[in-house]
Symmetry: C2
Subunit: 343 residues, 2 copies
């Protein structure tokens, strides 16, 4: 079969790889019909050291079950399923608590497993890590259902971590796909005012359609002051940080009111959280992290199936598997917000 | 009257200063009977630049009301009262929510106000910022009641921020007075296992008496592994960081299990929070900050009055006001854990 590999910064290739095979009785083989490129795929695309042997990449996919191991009972051949970007065993203490990304037997795709940007994948713990979708494979809902794998589930996790509740003010820092879907998640959870900080008009326009009541284009101190002016307060009850750079983390703390909450879902790129003086002096709680979408996709599914929300609107380009290298380039150049891949 | 001033690192002097006077109808004048030296007083004692004009210092005190402004109705001349280290107006949005340290009209002592290490102080918003104590001024309860001003209230805030609950595992990083009283606070809130990380035997012995079930002397990775071994888990549900150095903050995150909580009450000295990768990967929530003791002293008072708990055991030396410079030296040299000052 064909799959996408990364050989180093800027070096994405689509190559022939061995077909996946069942290895454990809890595995399933899934023929991938829909995949996509994640903002987090751009980190290795920007920075990864060149290697002779490439590594599989991609971690969001929908597909059709092709084969199941002997212990699998919840999904069967022919089922249309979505996989979370981090699969987990579904039975450990953390999985039971809904924190599937802490499962000691779990993993993101592409490390020692198949990647999501390929024609098929071996799925461990398939009874738990696959969620069945009662739709035909060419349903118009597919882009939105694909976001349950990672990007919408991550936006939702950000909003929950930031303690978004009905009637609360929310600031979202970052107008990438996660930030925009955090707006949608905050709206879904009942936020009253949602201020989106971003300066790409096409993106912030979509953010308004998702529920942002205000957009602040400015960055740094100027942007922070504008957020407070817009809200007419010392800052928001809940702030979502969906970038991961020091400046955006610092801004997130500065636009949160004392006693408020910051939910982070952008990996802190410097390895530290800046602006600790603000965090400490204002007793701001910093929550969030790698999102347990294997758990939260079940909560989000009904609203997507009903068509109440359309998180799939973040996809603004669809390509075939062979065009994956160009898809990375387009996202890296900010020509595309998020690219859907049809293997 | 006499009061303590700091002129720079290592330069503490007791000098004549003007007597305090009522300035606002919401003020009271308090004759100070008990004060003390705080671990946080040691930061300027170690680092403050030398200045020609000294600044008032000290922020924890008990005393007797000497005079009240025309708007004061809750305390009267002759009342024995304790003041929080950060006074607040008691009426703003943040005070109403119990976060008195975010009050826009509040302040710590010693900046533009009197310090706590002196013979008397003008107390703003005295109806809210003073708590009446129904005990004679020479009561044996005084050392414990004095801890409500800051150190026990801060330990309690750490435990609440770390979401200590009945039956939970707790790690306390740091065996200073705040760390030890965080142990006591965690015990009071029903923690089951309390692991104290510290290596001063006299202090950790007191920590055991306050409720620590285990002591880990080692630091760094060795200490972190030992904590996990002691608990038999991936780490504690709740960790309290009562130091503020990068190493201790990093350790606090490493000894907390995924989905757990770190409550910080040591001011982060580097201005950043390290080990953000652990925070993010394990979805650990970082809460806490400057403690609202004006609010929480009311909750803690009954157990101190009943003698159920004796937080005042952290005081291991009592001095007169003139000996304040030696008190600082003794705490800085770790000869004394916490010094009580009797003006």
């Amino acid at each position: 079969m064909k799959a996408t590999l990364i050989y180093g910064a800027g070096d994405i290739r689509v190559e022939e790889v061995p077909d996946p095979k069942l290895e454990n009785p809890t595995d399933a083989i899934v023929r991938i019909t829909h995949s996509c490129i994640c903002g987090s795929d751009l980190w290795p695309y920007k920075n990864r050291e060149a290697t002779e042997q490439g590594g599989r990449i991609g971690h969001e996919f929908i597909g059709v079950v092709e084969e199941t191991g002997s212990d699998i009972s919840r999904v069967k051949q022919g089922d249309v399923v979505v996989a979370p970007f981090f699969y987990a065993d579904g039975t450990c203490e953390y999985c039971q608590a809904g924190l599937t990304t802490a499962c000691p037997n779990g993993s993101a795709w592409g490390a020692e497993t198949d990647g999501g940007q390929g024609e098929a994948a071996r799925v461990p713990f398939a009874d738990h890590s696959l969620m069945k979708l009662d739709v035909p494979v060419e349903s118009e809902l597919m882009p939105s259902l694909l976001t349950l794998s990672d990007v919408f589930g991550t936006g939702h996790h950000a909003a929950v971590s930031a303690r978004v509740e009905p009637g609360k003010d929310v600031v979202v820092v970052g107008d990438g796909a996660v930030g925009l879907l955090a707006v949608l998640a905050a709206k879904r959870l009942g936020a009253e005012r949602i201020v989106l900080m971003g300066h790409h008009k096409a993106r912030t326009d979509l953010g308004r359609e998702f529920g942002a009541t205000d957009v602040v284009e400015e960055r740094g101190e100027e942007g922070e002051q504008k957020v407070r002016d817009v809200l007419g307060t010392d800052g928001a009850h809940s702030t979502i940080e969906a970038v991961g750079y020091d400046q955006s983390l610092s801004t997130a703390l500065n636009v949160t009111k004392p006693g408020g909450f910051v939910g982070i879902v952008g990996v802190p790129q410097s390895g530290t959280i800046p602006n600790a003086g603000r965090k400490f002096g204002a007793n701001i709680t910093i929550a969030g992290g790698i999102a347990p979408t294997q758990a939260n996709m079940h909560e989000l599914l009904p609203d997507v199936m009903d068509g109440k929300i359309e998180p799939g609107r973040v996809f603004d380009r669809t390509i075939g598997l062979d065009e994956t290298p160009e898809g990375y380039q387009a996202m890296n150049d900010r020509e595309a917000l998020k690219v859907l891949v049809r293997p």
